[in-house]
């Protein structure tokens, strides 16, 4: 057991810090629309041009080909530099890209990976359907093979930022006769394909905030070569994608939230006076969060340590679950602490926006249920439900 990083790691950290300090975008990230898309792509391109995109991606596609320790260091410095979260790039960097790295063929890798890292293409997800909420595998969007094309008809919903995306990782049913997990394919879908229509869905964070779209596919045609991991093999491909979700990407969040708690302590001290923290209800919740944040960071270090020892990746689900829970508590407490300010939802401050956003996380309760099933079965060895 030790906390020391190697001299090479230290050097990497210093270079990352230096580069980030010089290059991090200082402008506020726009809350939506094309400005947000342009901002996120520009910041991604900046990282790529600087040689810092894709720390753990293969070098041949523009990545740095480094291990998880370097990834950790990069995220630590990224959060410390208060670098912006380019959420629009999230699906490409953390789902679509890694899926193609793991399951794609040479052509698919060549065609799609670099454009994700270089800030050219935004990816979105097309998994959920209007009548298949928690029961993902019951999806009905149909695709039949016609020559060397797939012809897709159906609908997807809760596609974050679909209206700002270029590409979509799409799950379709290619064999309606097979058992429900066996007839699904994972497809790279171009959002400019004729036959696709989008309906924006406004969300509750503020009037006219579009976050989700619903996608309607009417005989939309996709080349068969865009199927990743083989026809009708999409379920297992998708499951590995879900595995990437909130994997190492959460490290950044965890660090960012730890900073936020420190900021909250400072704001609370300023607003209520230093003495109030003594035994106060807010003080007590802040203190517990401060301790929990330290633990979450230690859990992140443990995830990296375990990966070095090749311990079962299921153990990482413990960290993910913890970080998810703590984030919700942080946002709720932040809202409580600002008191009457919580009734204002200004464009230039995120506290209320993020509080309301946590209700999307509550929805992801489905996800938290699934996570806890995984922990129960794969970590603790309990019988399947």
């Amino acid at each position: 057991m030790d906390l020391k990083f190697t001299a090479e790691d230290q050097k990497f950290r210093e270079e990352a810090r230096e580069w980030l300090n010089a290059n991090v975008f200082k402008e506020r990230r726009p809350h939506g629309g094309d400005e947000m898309r342009e901002y996120d792509l520009a910041w991604q391109k900046c990282q790529y041009d600087g040689g810092w995109a894709g720390v753990s991606w293969p070098e041949e596609y523009g990545g740095m080909g480094l291990g998880l320790t370097r990834q950790l260091i990069w995220y630590e410095e990224y959060a410390r530099a208060n670098a912006p979260d380019n959420h629009l790039c999230f699906v490409g960097l953390n789902h679509g890209g890694p899926t193609i790295i793991a399951h794609g063929d040479a052509d698919q890798k060549k065609e799609h990976l670099r454009s994700i890292l270089s800030g050219e293409k935004i990816w979105c997800q097309g998994f959920s359907e209007p009548n298949a909420g928690s029961d993902l595998a019951s999806l009905k969007t149909r695709a039949y093979v016609d020559g060397n094309e797939l012809v897709i008809t159906g609908s997807k919903i809760w596609t974050s930022h679909g209206h700002l995306s270029d590409m979509q990782e799409l799950l379709v049913r290619t064999d309606p006769e097979a058992p429900k997990h066996k007839g699904i394919s994972w497809v790279i879908f171009d959002m400019n394909t004729p036959g696709l229509e989008l309906r924006p869905i406004e969300i509750m964070t503020a009037p006219n905030h579009t976050h989700f779209v619903q996608c309607f596919y009417d005989e939309a045609r996709v080349p068969l070569k865009n199927v990743v991991g083989g026809l009708n093999n999409g379920w297992s491909v998708a499951m590995s994608t879900l595995g990437f979700e909130r994997g190492t990407a959460q490290i950044k969040d965890q660090i960012r939230y730890a900073f936020l708690v420190e900021e909250m302590i400072a704001r609370a001290r300023e607003r209520y006076g230093a003495a109030f923290l003594d035994g106060d209800e807010f003080g007590s919740r802040l203190a517990q969060l401060r301790a929990d944040m330290a633990a979450a960071r230690a859990m992140t270090y443990m995830v990296v340590s375990r990966a070095q020892h090749d311990v079962s990746p299921a153990m990482a689900s413990l960290m993910r679950a913890m970080v998810g829970q703590v984030q919700q508590r942080v946002r709720r407490l932040a809202f409580d602490i600002i008191g009457a300010d919580g009734l204002e939802n200004p464009e230039d401050d995120d506290w209320v926006y993020f509080y309301l956003r946590t209700y999307a996380t509550t929805i992801a309760a489905g996800t938290s249920q699934i996570q806890r099933n995984i922990i129960g079965e794969r970590v603790l060895g309990l019988p399947r439900s």
Binding site: S128, N131, G133, S134, D135, I157, W158, I201, E202, I203, M204, A206, P207, N208, H209, F212, R271, Y272, E281, D336, I338, G339, A340, D341, G342, L343, E344, N345, P346, E347, V352, L356, Y359, A360, T362, I363, A365, G366
Partner: protein, 335 residues
């Protein structure tokens, strides 16, 4: 002893229910949500039906009923997320009535003018800094404190700045109080502060029940894994918890109104308890209602979010849960 409404009281409730069901379905907020609240258009009709005067003595120009009827009315106002401007009219008319300003009283009872609400920004601002709700075109602004209650002309406030309201169905402004009240009464004349807390408790009960019913209705219709989601224990138990909390809040609101009508010294205690229980419930029920709705609950298309945001407004008005919890410990043990 009977906590249930009498037949006469139930008739008033039914009349209000019918009126609001037709004139103020919650769906209206979807249309007007982003640009302010259309409810002021209802004030003249509600005034004509006598709903602003229920709890005012008849020798002061009111209908001559009690706090219980007012409580029942505000429960319905909350259920339909009626603009909180309605507190301005009802409590404003009471101030005018007890101050002997009969002309103003009658104008308010008729619902012909708007009364905004001023609320201290608490730790979020200096002592003279307020939030104004629904005060944009209002002639008057209501200010209630433990010491007394008053109507201010809008121009008693300076540095008025419109801000984005978290509850986007409401018009919210920041302002400084720099002028004097036009009409004011002290707490000794009539304790409007207790009444305001009690009625806000009743309003929050309505919000809680609205969220509960929305969740229950949805969980009877929405199917997953081949059956209505309300058949799954996880959803059923969430709905049951919403019902338990709503019932607790309703019972305490009723109790508080009756204690007030008796003129009991426990009135501040029970009014405060009512606001605490109801506001806590309103926020939790709204949050649970979002959860029951799944991803749909997070959209602006579902009405759920209006309940959550209004619950936070109800909580913050005249002192949040944090302040009210602090206050309730200062009262002696009630009888």
């Amino acid at each position: 002893m009977d906590l249930l409404p009498s037949d006469d009281q139930q008739q008033i409730v039914d009349t209000i229910k019918d009126f609001l069901r037709n004139e103020a379905p919650v769906d209206r907020l979807r249309e007007f949500g982003a640009i302010g609240n259309p409810d002021a258009l209802l004030w003249p009709q509600l005034g004509e039906l006598g709903f602003f005067a229920l709890g005012l003595p008849d020798d002061r120009g009111g209908v001559g009923l009690s706090a219980a009827e007012e409580m029942l009315a505000f429960q319905q106002f909350g259920y339909h997320l009626v603009s909180p401007g309605i507190f301005g009219l009802v409590l404003g008319a009471r101030i005018a009535a007890f101050a002997g300003e009969d002309a103003l009283r009658d104008e308010l009872l008729a619902g012909g003018i708007k009364v905004g609400l001023a609320n201290s920004r608490g730790a979020a601002g200096a002592a003279d800094e307020y939030h104004l709700f629904e005060a944009e075109e209002a002639a008057w602004v209501l200010l209630v404190s433990e010491e007394g209650a008053a109507l201010y002309p809008r121009d008693a406030f300076s540095e008025i700045v419109r801000v984005n309201s978290t509850d986007s169905a409401l018009v919210l402004e920041r302002a400084k109080l720099s002028g004097a009240p036009r009409v004011a009464i002290s707490a000794e004349t009539d304790n409007i502060h207790d009444r305001a807390l009690m009625l806000m408790g009743a309003y929050a009960v309505g919000v809680s029940e609205g969220a509960r019913d929305l969740a229950v209705d949805y969980s009877k219709i929405r199917e997953q894994f081949g059956k209505p989601i309300g058949a799954f224990q996880s959803i059923k138990h969430v709905c049951a918890d919403m019902a338990i909390r709503s019932e607790a809040a309703l019972c305490q609101a009723s109790f508080a109104a009756l204690v007030m009508d008796e003129g009991s010294p426990d009135t501040p205690f029970h009014a405060t308890a009512s606001k605490i229980v109801a506001c806590e419930t309103a926020v939790r029920n709204a949050a649970d209602c979002i959860q029951v709705h799944g991803a749909f609950g997070f959209t602006a298309e579902a009405n759920v979010h209006h309940y959550l945001k209004r619950a936070h407004v109800a909580d913050m008005m005249w002192g949040s849960l944090r302040e009210q919890r602090r206050r309730i410990l200062t009262f002696p043990t009630p009888a």
